[in-house]
């Protein structure tokens, strides 16, 4: 469903991504792992259209998307829950969710989708008239996820959702991710938290310094292999 082929990306004179090739099939949870600076977020920005690659291609649902603008990619059904949450601080929780349904096809079903999001994250219903900026980190992450869901995506990418959050909240978030997957969406998880990703993913890629060092079914990885790929030893 999502395919990246031989992607190279230069970021201000520095090569951030080198010859990246990966595939995401339907009914999969795919994990992209790596330490800080490995290139994970750069890769996601390229996929979502925020950055343009220097060479290589990105394909979604059979069509090429690497030349498209971010707002066009969302309309195709590919949503990104961005790193750092990036919720709209002067909008209320409800308005944040409603703007998530901005794309035309999502507007028609917005009330239904809103119910689904509140069911997934009851805390958001409690806080729906509050400004985005008044939420805690965990609540903001829930809001960012809910907001992405409102666009009715078929593929959803989570960029480091556990960053800066307590284990209890992270557990809750991952339960939500599991429920999202069960609803039929294709999930791509980008994380620094290796253990958790390896448990949930069907397929994992480990990035280090812009290159893919290890890929495959995480249950087949040895601890040695993972350490080597992650730290580039």
């Amino acid at each position: 469903m999502l395919e990246v082929k031989n992607l190279n990306l230069y970021y201000g004179g520095f090569q951030a991504l080198m010859d990246i090739t990966l595939r995401v099939e339907r009914d999969q949870i795919v994990s992209i792992l790596g330490s800080n600076g490995a290139g994970k977020s750069t890769l996601l920005k390229a996929i979502s259209g925020l950055l343009k690659p220097s060479s290589g291609s990105i394909h979604y649902d059979g069509g090429r998307i690497d030349h498209l603008d971010p707002h066009e990619i969302v309309r195709l059904g590919l949503a990104l829950v961005p790193e750092g949450r990036k919720i709209f601080s002067s909008l209320t929780v409800l308005e944040n969710l409603l703007i998530g349904s901005y794309v035309p096809k999502a507007r028609r079903t917005k009330d239904e989708q809103l119910e689904n999001v509140f069911e997934l994250f009851p805390r958001l219903r409690e806080r729906k008239e509050q400004l985005g900026s008044t939420l805690s980190g965990g609540e903001q992450q829930m809001l960012a996820i809910g907001r992405a869901l409102m666009s009715q995506p078929r593929l959803i990418v989570f960029d480091e959702i556990s960053l800066g959050l307590s284990p209890v909240i992270v557990q809750h978030l991952y339960q939500a991710v599991d429920r999202i997957k069960k609803k039929g969406m294709v999930v791509v998880l980008v994380e620094q938290d290796v253990k958790r990703s390896l448990k949930t993913a069907d397929c994992a890629y480990i990035l280090q310094e812009g290159k893919i060092r290890l890929k495959g079914n995480p249950r087949d990885f040895t601890e040695e292999e993972v350490k080597k790929a992650y730290f580039g030893l």
Partner: protein, 287 residues
């Protein structure tokens, strides 16, 4: 003693007009973080356009809204699409230069087309006054200005709070990157926001034309009023802009009554300086 209520009441009413003058500038800065130096000229262009329709079709000035507003909206949309969108996300300097150049072009175009003679949009509303309890007089046009201001800002508030366009505009101003990820096309949203901003400029232009005389160069003084309103009331706040307009209006008229009618503008600017000193983000502005 109660007769001294006159400058206060009239100041409040005029303040409603000032609020409409300022809201266009405030919107563009709040949403795009840019200052449109041609704002005053766009207002006065609307005044002249209204004049044309009055002379061509014999309409009452208020009816010319039907023609002037769509015309100015289209102009604003085109300006944003073909001029300003080319320097999107490139900082403030290019935008300032473009808007400055635009203001010069517009001023001189109006000078060429309409001559430097003083003009007004003739209406009996400007001559009639209401006798308030036999204490003082309120020009009816001031009342029209205030109601106009209230309606415009009220309508804008509804748009921002209840429509997809409003949420999109606010989202884009909070975090443009995240807004793109929602499917919002920045160029289109900015063009629409600019269109709305120039419509408010056009409305204030026609009201100004009915209330005062205007010349091709009048744009500058109204740009300064717009700045005053926005600075006092605060950026990014609709109620703030309304408040800013009222305070500026009252400062001018009450101050003018106290220190002398020729120093009306000065008294307004003194209040401006005071607000800048004690609360630089404006009374209701976001930090």
């Amino acid at each position: 003693m109660l007769a001294s209520l006159e400058p206060l009441i009239n100041g409040i009413l005029l303040g409603g007009l000032y609020a409409v003058i300022g809201i266009g500038l405030s919107m563009i800065f709040g949403i795009m973080r840019q200052v449109n130096l041609a704002h005053g000229e766009l207002m006065i262009l609307a005044s002249y356009l209204s004049l044309v329709f009055i002379q061509l079709l014999g309409l009452h000035p208020l009816l010319t809204f039907l023609f002037v507003l769509p015309a100015i909206f289209i102009l604003g949309y085109l300006i944003q699409t073909f001029l300003f969108n080319r320097v999107l996300e490139k900082g403030m300097e290019p935008y300032l230069m473009i808007s400055f150049g635009l203001s010069i072009i517009l001023q001189n175009a109006m000078l060429l087309l309409f001559t430097p003679d003083a003009r007004t949009l003739q209406t009996s509303l400007a001559i009639k006054s209401i006798n308030v309890f036999n204490l003082f007089y309120v020009p009816v046009i001031y009342l029209v200005d205030f109601v106009g201001g209230f309606l415009v800002l009220g309508l804008l508030h509804l748009i921002m709070k209840k429509t997809y366009l409003g949420w999109a505009i606010r989202a884009a101003s909070d975090n443009l990157t995240a807004a793109k990820l929602m499917g919002i096309n920045p160029k289109k949203v900015y063009a629409l926001a600019m269109g709305i901003a120039v419509i408010t400029a056009a409305i204030s232009g026609v009201l100004v034309g009915m209330t005062f005389t205007f010349y091709p160069h009048s744009g500058t003084q109204y740009l300064i009023i717009a700045f005053g309103v926005v600075i006092i009331g605060g950026l990014g706040s609709l109620p703030g802009t309304f408040l800013g307009g009222l305070i500026l209006g009252v400062s001018q008229l009450v101050g003018g009554r106290i220190i002398g009618p020729g120093l009306q503008l000065l008294s307004g600017y003194i209040i401006l300086l005071i607000v800048l000193t004690i609360r630089p983000q404006g009374l209701l502005g976001r930090k």
